[in-house]
Every structure is written in C-alpha cells, then in structure tokens.
C-alpha cells in the first residue's frame, strides 16, 4: 500500500480486522483479578415512598460482599455531570422513587448470578403514590412528580432562548395577521413524536478498580464521553483529575445512550474503594430499557399559515417535551437543539414554545438526532399537509420557501448563523435521480388498480459539529459540571522515532470509524502510509483533553484539531527534511512514505530518517527543538449545518394496514467527505433508526408508569427483513467554519427519515381521507386510520 492521497477515497477500516475476528475489546471483555459483580435492586413502582430497605437476607447469602443504599453514598452528594436545571438524580433512591427501574440498592457479590440471587432477597417496603405518565397531565401539574417542584421545568420559546416560564410568548410578528387574511390557509396537526429506547446492541458496562495506594482509580466504561466521566468521578470523590483514568475501549454503539455520566459509574468506583477489589456492572437488556436514558417523547401541534400559491407566512410549533423523572447531562438541552432548527431550510416567520415537563418515567436525553429529528418531523409533516391542502406538489412548496444560496450565511430568527447551504440544488438532484414524475405516475397507476402506493418526501437542515463555546456554553461554564471543555476538539499527532505515526484524539468512536478517517487525514497531510498510522482514543489520561463523540461533532471539531496538528508537524518535518536534503523547507514535499525536493523526486528521505533526526537533536538545524509532535485544541467559530433530501416509496396493504417500504432514496450534503464508504454507512444506519421510529419502535407505558416494552420481544427493532437497500447520493457544499470543509453525518439519516416514511404512508391513504397517523405506523394504526376516515 503506497497511496498517500487518501482523503476522499474509500479505504477499508483499520478497526475491522480485530472486530471481525472477535478480538475487539469491549468493557465486558476486560477481566481484572479478584473482580466482583454487581446487581441493582430496582423499583417496580413509578412513584413511591421507600419506608425501609432490609438487606439482611441478601447479606447472609454466601458470596455476597455488600449491599449499599443511599445511606452509604449520600455523602458523595449529587452527580456533578447533571446540569443544574430541574430535578437531579441521587446516586441511589433517597426515600422516594420516581420511575420504574430506579436503583434503590446495589448488591456486590462474587459473580453476577449470585448478585442477582441476592438482589432478589433485598426487601424494600414501598408506599406507592400517584404517578404522572401522560404529558398533558404532567403539564397541567395536578400531581407533582417531585414534591414542591412544578412539573414544567422551563419553556424554551421563540423570542428568547430561556424564558423559564410556562406562558407562551407572543407569536412572531405577522403570523396572527396572516392568519386573519382572506387569502391564507391555516393547516394544523397535533402529532406525537413517541418515546424511544436507544438500544445499542452492547448494553452499558462498567468496571472500576480503585488503587488505595495511589488513591487513584481506573474505570472502564462503555461511554461516549470518558473525559466527562473522569471529571465527574474526580469531583465526586475529591481527587484530582490526574488520578482518574477513564477508558472507553471498543464501544458497541452509542447513539446518545452513552452520553451521560450514570450513577453506576460512580457507584462502582465507590464499591471498589470500599471493598478494595475491582467491581463490575454489566447492564441487562431490561435494565437498559428502564434505567438508562430514552429519547424523544414529544406531543405537539404544528401550524402553517400560507397562501394558496405555496408561500408560507408563518410556522408555529407548540409542544410538550418529556424530560422523564430526572434531568441528566443534556436532558433540557434536547428541545433547545430542536428549537435551533425548528424553521428548517425555510425563510419563514416562526413561533415556538417547547415546554419541558417531568414525568414518572426514565430520563430522556440525547438519542441520535436529539431534538432535531423531532423538529424536522413537526415541520416536514405539516408542510406536507399544507401542500396537500392547497393542492401543490410538496417538492414545489418546499422550494418556494427555501433560503437561497446567495443569502448565506443566514442569520436565523433567534440569531444563529447558518454557515452554507444550497437546498434547491440538493432537492432537485434527488428528484432527478429518483425520476420523480415517473414515480408519481407509477403511484397513480397503482392506485387506479386499488393498490395503495405512497411517496414521501422530506428535506432537513441540522445543526451539529459543536461547537463554539458561545453556543455550547449558553453563558455558563461546563467545567463545573464535570465536562472538561466547552466542546473543543483536540488532536495530537506524533511521529515516532521509527517514522510511524501515533494520533491521539479527544473523541472516540462507537462505530463511526474514527481510526480510519483520522488516519486518512494524517496520511494525506504527511505522506505516511495508512498502515503506519495508529489512532488512539478514549483514555482520559492518555488522550488529549476532549469531550467525546456526539452531535455529529467529532470530525468537524476533533478532526480539524488533528488536521491542524498534522499541518504543524509537517511544517517542522519540512525544516528537518530540508536540512537533510539541503533544500529550503518550502521546497520539500511529502508523499509515499517520505519527503522529496519539489521537482527532484530522487532527492528524497524516508520518514524514518526524518524521525531519526528529530529525536537526535544534535543533528537538527540550529534553533530547532527535538521531537516531532504537535497538540492542537480547536474551537470552531460556529456549528455546522448539514442538510439533505429524502424520499420513500411505500405500499400499504389495504386489508391489514401493513406497510412495505419498497424504495428509499437520500441525497445528503455534509460538506466535504473524507471516506465516502464510512459516510454512506452512517447514512444507512441513520435512516434505519428513523424508519424504526416511523414503523416499529415505541416505549409504551401503562397509566401507572410500567414500561410495557422492556424486552426486545416487545420493542421490535427492525431486522434485515424489514428494511430495503438504500439509494444514496450526495451534493457537496463545504462549510467555511473549518479548514476541512466537513459538516458531520452521524445524525443526518435519522433526522431526515421518520417523516419521510410517514409522509409516504399518509400519501398512500390520503385519498381515502386520512390526514395523519401517529408513529409508529404499526399495521393496526394504519388500518384504524383508514377505517376512521371511511366512517
């Protein structure tokens, strides 16, 4: 392998040979001598007072080492990584439980079987109370989830970022007037964007090993944010951050689920310190369903006011957003992210009020897309309904209201700046590839035969690549919450003495292929072959201080830091190589594993020679320090704003309501692309999760707060049989907020897809009188909608 111009090319992943041979190391694969196992005693009630906890029978069981309750850990205080808005979770329930699955006691035993045996023997005396499950009831505040705290924590609203009040702000100027005009149409729908369970296939896992000699701790955790976990541990236990090593090894899927500092991470450290042995906890699937975070959970009404020629004069969104029982790291920020992109790609007056309410259900937090899929759903569904109402093609309505390329950078109504965009070109490219007019004719012909085919379209813009301190910080320091930086990116590039290269980064993958993509960036810059570049990540002490992977941010931020570090190493290497080659540094070029003088390929040195010189300072030119590495922290001037257009063709079985997803097309624009194979893969998976929300998945609670879908038997993830191949393409509109011109692609597929499917299904049955069906579009709902419309 000698190619060094690898940016933008398909390169097989560096991480795969290990993973395909079963040699990947996930947390649960790490074994420590004398380690103990943990099981949690969890509440069967959504709301209850705890009168007493009796662990005597559990402690009497052979092999049980400890049973901890809040009395043992109350002195640790509260989880510092929970943003101090609202309702904070104690490390174990403190006299009261607020959702089914909340941990009441922690059992530590020789192995997980015994731990579970013992957990079954812990007797907890509960006194059940009324639970608040329904979002409208929560908003009405008739029963308070937390005594003395309003269920409505705050309202993110259109005229200010943080009203902190329940009252709706005044609608944006002009919308009310437009509604009253004779020539306008007002279309409104109340829609549910249901709760989802992230369901990474790897459940979370934690292994803590406290060293009492050094008073230091090592924690392995299946986490997207090892640095933040380390920060929270240091603050909780009062030890400096350089005594906390948190390692996220292979992480088996994140999707936002692992973007929290969870109580179990702190508790395993506590138990390890108390017992003097390593302590492990491995989440079961049921625990993953009831005790880790969930996503989405909105009910809201969108309204469009527009003219019959498709001009939108106002978009209003009023939604209640389910925070669950406690506010974790980003819980209240998720609706805010939705608010950032509420007007989508459109130059339209907008008014919104997102009411964040607490309920007796597990906490919600970031789940792939995090607020942006919800926003795109409410907007793109109502645009479709508006197009249908005025009898215009939904693509034409969209194009009539887009921001135009020459308007960028666009300042949005709430004052954010969208970097670059060319929405109409992107949509036209999709429609042409699909053969939109032919597809519509095919649909109409099928309909004439009694078959129910439907076409659904959605476009979207997202905001990601966090990010600039001003946007991420919202005016306060994250350091106080265990998050070590204001969302900076970091990268260290070091050329080893043998001419190979080590790259360490402040973010780490949970499947996104960072090792390959980062190696491509560095290989492209230095001309060191891919095989000679190792990318390391996920160690809070050995990696540069960083934040982690979420919000489609890694490449745009940490990738840029690495790119800049690469450039600096290259500049120094050019001086060294120039010295060795007796040439000016500016005449040195790097390629194919070494450097040569421009125009004279024969005058060359290998990287091994350059590196050897770098680490023998007496060989260097005067004034040049030894070593060959650079560390860069990058804070971008803005977030990035990827966008795209998705289109689906579905067929509905008129007798059963069963939806068959026949074809799916997406044209996304994430700016420049480092590895198109990886980018396509991100889009595939993102679409699958959006389709999953549209057709299959829902966290369903009964009226006392029991989760009825706590196993994969009842929470149906789509299997291979349930999905088609995806037809992908891209347009390329680079961002100007980073030198790579990259925007981020991790969430795009999810943000664009759920409403695409719903739009398609509604299109298939709209002629029967159906205007909307709430997700997931299980056969029963589609059939019922057809029945209701017929009646």
């Amino acid at each position: 392998m000698s190619t060094t111009s690898v940016m933008g090319g398909v390169v097989r992943r560096k991480e795969d040979p290990s993973l395909i041979q079963g040699k990947g190391t996930y947390v649960d694969d790490i074994k420590r001598h004398r380690e103990l196992a943990t099981a949690f005693v969890r509440s069967p009630f959504a709301a209850a007072a705890i009168n007493s906890v009796d662990a005597s029978a559990a402690l009497a069981l052979e092999g049980v080492h400890a049973v901890y309750t809040i009395d043992d850990v109350r002195h640790l205080g509260l989880n510092p990584a929970q943003v101090a808005v609202g309702t904070l979770r104690p490390f174990l329930a403190d006299g009261v439980v607020h959702h089914v699955g909340e941990a009441v006691a922690m059992v530590v035993a020789d192995d997980p079987y015994i731990a579970k045996d013992a957990a079954d023997l812990v007797f907890v005396d509960y006194e059940p109370k009324d639970a608040v499950v329904d979002l409208k009831e929560a908003y009405a505040d008739t029963v308070q989830v937390h005594d003395g705290i309003s269920n409505t924590l705050l309202t993110w609203a259109g005229n200010a970022w943080w009203e902190g009040v329940i009252d709706l702000p005044d609608p944006s100027p002009g919308i009310q007037e437009a509604k009253e005009r004779d020539d306008t149409v007002v279309v409104s729908l109340e829609m549910v964007n249901q709760r989802l369970i992230p369901t990474a296939i790897e459940p979370r896992a934690v292994l803590a090993d406290w060293n009492s000699g050094y008073d230091s701790v090592e924690l392995w955790s299946s986490s997207q944010i090892p640095h933040a976990v380390a920060g929270a541990i240091g603050m909780t236990f009062g030890i400096p951050s350089n005594k906390v090593r948190v390692v996220a090894p292979e992480v088996g899927g994140g999707f936002g689920l692992k973007l929290n500092v969870y109580p179990d991470e702190i508790l395993c450290c506590y138990a390890s310190r108390a017992l003097g042995r390593p302590v492990r906890w491995t989440e079961t699937r049921r625990e993953a369903s009831v005790a880790s975070i969930q996503g989405r959970g909105w009910i809201g009404t969108s309204t469009i006011t527009g003219t019959r020629d498709g001009k939108i004069l106002g978009y209003e969104l009023d939604a209640i957003c389910d925070m669950g029982a406690y506010t974790h790291n980003f819980t209240v920020a998720i609706p805010l992210l939705g608010l950032f992109v509420a007007p989508g790609q459109y130059d339209i007056p907008t008014s919104y009020a997102l009411h964040c309410v607490v309920t007796n259900k597990p906490t919600t937090d970031a789940y792939r897309g995090a607020g942006r899929p919800e926003a795109a759903y409410y907007l793109e569904r109502i645009i479709d309904a508006f197009a249908r109402e005025i009898g215009m093609d939904p693509a034409d309505v969209r194009k009539a209201n887009y921001w135009k390329p020459d308007q960028f950078p666009v300042t949005t109504q709430i004052g954010l700046t969208m970097d670059t965009g060319d929405y109409a070109t992107n949509l036209d490219s999709l429609l042409e590839r699909v053969g939109y007019e032919d597809l519509k004719a095919k649909r109409d012909a099928a309909r004439a035969e009694g078959r129910l085919l439907g076409i659904g379209l959605s476009t979207y813009v997202e905001v990601c690549g966090f990010g600039p301190s001003a946007l991420a910080g919202l005016g306060f320091s994250w350091a106080g919450y265990g998050l070590p930086t204001a969302f900076n990116g970091s990268g260290v590039v070091r050329v080893q003495p043998d001419g190979t290269c080590t790259v360490t980064i402040g973010t780490g993958p949970s499947g996104q292929g960072h090792e390959t993509t980062w190696a491509q960036i560095v290989s492209d810059g230095l001309g060191i072959v891919m095989d000679n570049i190792e990318v390391q990540h996920g160690d809070s002490l050995d990696s540069p201080v960083g934040v982690g992977t979420f919000g489609s941010r890694s490449l745009a931020v940490d990738g840029t830091a690495t790119y800049e570090a690469t450039t600096r190493v290259k500049e120094k290497a050019a001086i060294i190589a120039g010295h060795l080659l007796e040439a000016a540094p500016e005449d040195v070029q790097f390629q194919d594993g070494g450097a040569h003088v421009a125009g004279s390929p024969d005058r060359s040195v290998a990287w091994a020679q350059i590196a050897e010189s770098a680490y023998q300072p007496h060989t260097l030119p005067e004034g040049v320090e030894g070593g060959l590495e650079s560390s860069v922290v990058f804070s971008p001037p803005n977030a990035t704003w990827p966008f795209g257009s998705h289109l689906a063709l579905v067929e509905v079985d008129p007798e059963t309501g069963d939806v068959d997803l026949l074809e799916y097309w997406a044209t996304d624009d994430c700016g420049n692309v480092i590895n198109p194979m990886i980018v396509d893969g991100q889009v595939h998976g993102g679409i699958a999760q959006g389709v999953a929300q549209a057709l299959f998945e829902e966290a369903i609670y009964d009226d006392v707060g029991n989760l009825l879908t706590s196993s994969l038997a009842d929470y149906p993830l789509p299997a291979a049989e349930n999905l088609p191949m995806f037809n992908l393409d891209r347009t390329v509109t680079p961002t100007d907020v980073n030198p790579l011109g990259v925007k981020g692609i991790g969430e795009a597929g999810t943000i664009g897809s759920a409403q695409t499917i719903v739009n398609a299904v509604v299109d298939a049955v709209s002629h029967l009188g159906v205007k909307h069906i709430d997700m997931p579009l299980r056969p029963k709902r589609v059939w019922q909608a057809i029945e209701d419309a017929r009646k």
Binding site: R13, T199, I201, R286, A688, A713, A719, L723
Partner: protein
Amino acid sequence: MEGRILEVRISVNGVDHQSDVEPRTLLVHYLRENLSLTGTHVGCETGYCGACTVIVDGRAVKSCTMFAVQADGASIQTVEGVADGDELHPVQEGFWECHGLQCGFCTPGMIMSSIALLEENNDPSEAEIRHGIEGNLCRCTGYHNIVRSVQYAGAKMRGESPQGASQEVSS
C-alpha cells in the same frame, strides 16, 4: 451449591475442554468466562438480538438461550475459530471489504449466522440473505452493507472475484 456442579466436555474451535459448571450457567457465559472466548457477545436476554450466535454441531444457535450443560459432548465453533490461521474466512473478508460493521458488537454473531447461511446456500438472493439473518439485530448499519458483505462472501465461496465497497459508494 457444590452438589450442583456438573462436569461438561465441550469441543470449542477444535480444542477439547473439560469444565465444571453450574446447571444454570449459560453457554455464552461458559464461553466468555470459563474459556475467555470473549468474541461471542451478550446483547439481550430474550434471545432476540443474536449477538451470541455460535455454531453448535453445525447449526447456528443463540448461546445465551442454551445452558452449557446442554452442550455437553458438542462441538462448537465461535468467531475466534473461523479464520484459517492468518487467512480470513470469506465472510470475514466480506464484512471488511463491504463495511459490513460499524461498532462491531453484533458482528461476531452476524458472521456466524452468515457462515451457516452460506454453507447451506452459497448463492442466496437478497431476500434469502435478509431472511437468513433476521435473528441477528444490528443497530448501526441498517443491514445494507451486511447484505453486501454476505453477497461478497457468497461470490468468493463460489470462486468468483467480487468487488468491495469501492464499487458502490455514492459520489
């Protein structure tokens, strides 16, 4: 508990093991804890995700839904026993070439199911592939590239020279 310890003899990847286990020890825990073969993963507890899939006496099964004692006398293949020395199995090669994995957690089980599928039929249709791996859930890939990987492996096993992901990526 001692009275409940049973001895099992199980051949794993061609190596004979004689071990003492509790009746309740799940096969997947036996493989992971007793034999330190951690390539086989646990993803759920109801037999739905398939991350724990291994091949027992020639058939793909879910090792989280089987007690180790049930495998007494059996011959088991796990993902660690798939490659022939340094030479990857065509299915492993397919997953690498076609980006058939992202986080990699479902991958060992997915590979074992794919091997079982292709050993029965090395030229499956797309629908047959999707049906054949419906017992393995993947949250990352949307299955698109997994299907491609299995197609690649099938072609390889038929003696053809398939092309990897670079043939398909969008512009």
